[in-house]
């Protein structure tokens, strides 16, 4: 397994000159292997977006290093590293640059000087991957939020990135749009082995990840598989985080004297336990 990202003790403050300012990201370290999906969760202002901006080189840490694909990220290799990453933001409208779907997908390709012939192929291909290939000439204001986000993902994919960062990419979407986007990402990962960092407030989404990083006040509070991390239960609610729905329901059922297996996090597992409950007695 190749290590594609390695954060070493990075610290960043938006106001480094102010002596009593606190760090927006304060001593965070973690590694990521190729093909992994990491979910980053945490309360508002816990430094998640700042972390993402540090990884893609929009900001540089005051201390520590960001290692990408084997080398540390510097001002000199910034554009080369950035061309291997894609990032999708929260607001579907504010990241649509092109006049039509295909123009928008081609934007990053144009910037990186990809020749025209190759460009048309890649645009078509990327739009197929997100199932938007029949919308080539549509204008952004005739698309739904979920469709725009899928176009944004295609725009990132067209460059064939090794790492895709989603900063609350589904948070402005309705449940249907959210599901569309998540399904697309899941399929992509399966097919292309893309590595994904998804910053999210949606815990059901976090449960799909290989690993969860919990941020609190700029620091990394916990890291591990979703199973391990969410088992901390109360410690997480104390940080102002929610727990996955199935866990909350399990806790309530327990109060009513209906025990479920510890570590039941997904709805499917819970349902399975509930309907076999009677026969197990």
């Amino acid at each position: 397994m190749e290590r594609i990202l390695s954060l070493q003790d990075i610290r960043f403050s938006y106001t480094p000159d102010d002596p009593d300012s606190r760090f927006a990201v304060d001593g965070v370290s973690f590694d990521m292997q190729a093909g992994e999906w990491i979910a980053v969760v945490g309360h508002n202002g816990s430094g998640k977006s700042t972390l993402a901006r540090l990884i893609i080189g929009l900001l540089f840490p005051q201390e520590g290093t960001v290692g990408l694909f084997g080398d540390p990220l510097t001002e000199d290799n910034l554009w080369e590293k950035r061309s291997q990453m894609g990032m999708v933001f929260q607001n579907p409208d504010n990241q649509f640059v092109g006049a039509t779907v295909q123009d928008d997908v081609a934007f990053a390709l144009e910037n990186n000087g990809i020749p025209f012939g190759e460009m048309t192929l890649r645009v078509q291909n990327a739009l197929e991957q997100v199932k938007m290939d029949t919308f080539l000439d549509h204008e952004p204001h005739h698309l739904s939020g979920g469709q725009k986000q899928r176009v944004a993902i295609a725009g990132a994919l067209a460059l064939r990135p090794r790492l895709l960062i989603l900063d609350e990419a589904t948070s402005m979407l309705d449940p249907q749009g959210r599901e569309e986007v998540i399904r697309v990402i899941l399929e992509l990962r399966e097919k292309t082995g893309l590595s994904v960092i998804s910053i999210t407030h949606d815990l059901e989404e976090a449960l799909l990840a290989d690993r969860v990083v919990i941020m609190n006040g700029g620091r990394k509070f916990a890291e591990g598989t979703p199973q391990d991390v969410f088992l901390k239960g109360e410690a997480l609610t104390a940080l102002g985080l929610d727990l996955p729905f199935a866990m909350r329901l399990s806790a309530l059922l327990k109060e009513q004297g209906i025990p479920t297996e510890p570590g039941t996090m997904t709805e499917r597992k819970l349902v399975e336990q509930l309907w076999t409950l009677h026969s197990n007695r």
């Binding site: 554009w79 504010n94 640059v97 295909q102 390709l109 144009e110 000087g113 204001h141």
Partner: protein, 265 residues
């Protein structure tokens, strides 16, 4: 009202004119505008008018629609016409009614100026009607490319224009939303004195500006993340294709200009 407006509107279609390269259409219209000032005789004006009508036919835009949409301009043309008729007092007296005297030269000048005005408006409207704003931007960018040598920011301006065009509907929606939100709070911009109305616009504009700046900031970040660092080393996804149609169109224009030259009085 807005539906009928022709100015700056694009109507997709599939005609000879629609298929022309934006570059040839821009060059065509520019040369045409200059050529209009060559005309100075009845025959030359007749040629201009006929050529304009033929161009409209070739674009398959309905003439009724075009004239209907240009009503405000038509008023202006009618006004200049009347002005000339009543105030030019040269040539033979054609008609007299009380103090109203119409002279031959006045009628002639009135018609000339109106035709000149009309063909200019029709041709430029035809350009915008048959070319999408983004194609016009592309065409301008390529045509103005030589200006890069003198450090004129051609690429930046074209990008600015295309982004503005892209955000017009978004900001329109937003204006609508804010308007409704302010209406719900009791603001009213459709009644009251002029001063009250102007004051009522302020709470509409402030949130609109705030959100536009926020959007601009987000967009700048999104562009940077996608590798945008100016026009250097960029390739183009929208390709412009110059084909036989474009050459034909310009040759026809050349023929018309030569004819105009000979028809000059």
């Amino acid at each position: 009202m807005m539906e009928k407006m022709v100015f700056g509107r694009y109507i997709p279609g599939d005609s000879f004119v629609h298929r022309l390269d934006p570059r040839s259409k821009l060059i065509f219209v520019f040369i045409f505008i200059a050529a209009v000032f060559l005309a100075n005789s009845t025959l030359s004006y007749a040629l201009l008018l006929a050529f304009t009508l033929l161009s409209i036919l070739a674009s398959k835009v309905r003439i009724g629609f075009l004239i209907g949409g240009l009503k405000p301009v038509m008023f202006l043309i009618a006004f200049t016409f009347l002005l000339h008729i009543f105030f030019t007092k040269e040539g033979d007296l054609l008609f007299e009614l009380g103090f109203l005297k119409i002279y031959e030269e006045g009628l002639r000048q009135g018609i000339y100026i109106s035709v000149r005005f009309l063909v200019l408006v029709l041709m430029t409207s035809l350009l915008t009607l048959t070319t999408s704003p983004i194609s016009i931007t592309d065409g301008l960018e390529v045509l103005l490319n030589p200006l890069k040598k003198v450090k004129f920011p051609v690429h930046e301006l074209a990008l600015m224009m295309s982004i503005s065009l892209r955000f017009i509907p978004t900001l329109m929606d937003e204006t609508d939303k804010i308007l409704k939100a302010q209406l719900a709070r009791g603001s009213d911009i459709s009644s009251g004195t002029m001063k009250e109305r102007v004051q009522a616009v302020v709470p509409l504009l402030v949130p609109l500006f705030v959100s536009a700046f926020k959007r601009a900031e987000d967009l700048a970040i999104a562009m940077e993340v996608r590798g945008y660092r100016g026009g250097e080393g960029r390739t183009r996804y929208r390709q412009l294709k110059w084909d036989w149609r474009d050459t034909t169109a310009l040759l026809i224009l050349l023929a018309v200009i030569i004819a105009l030259w000979f028809l000059r009085g």
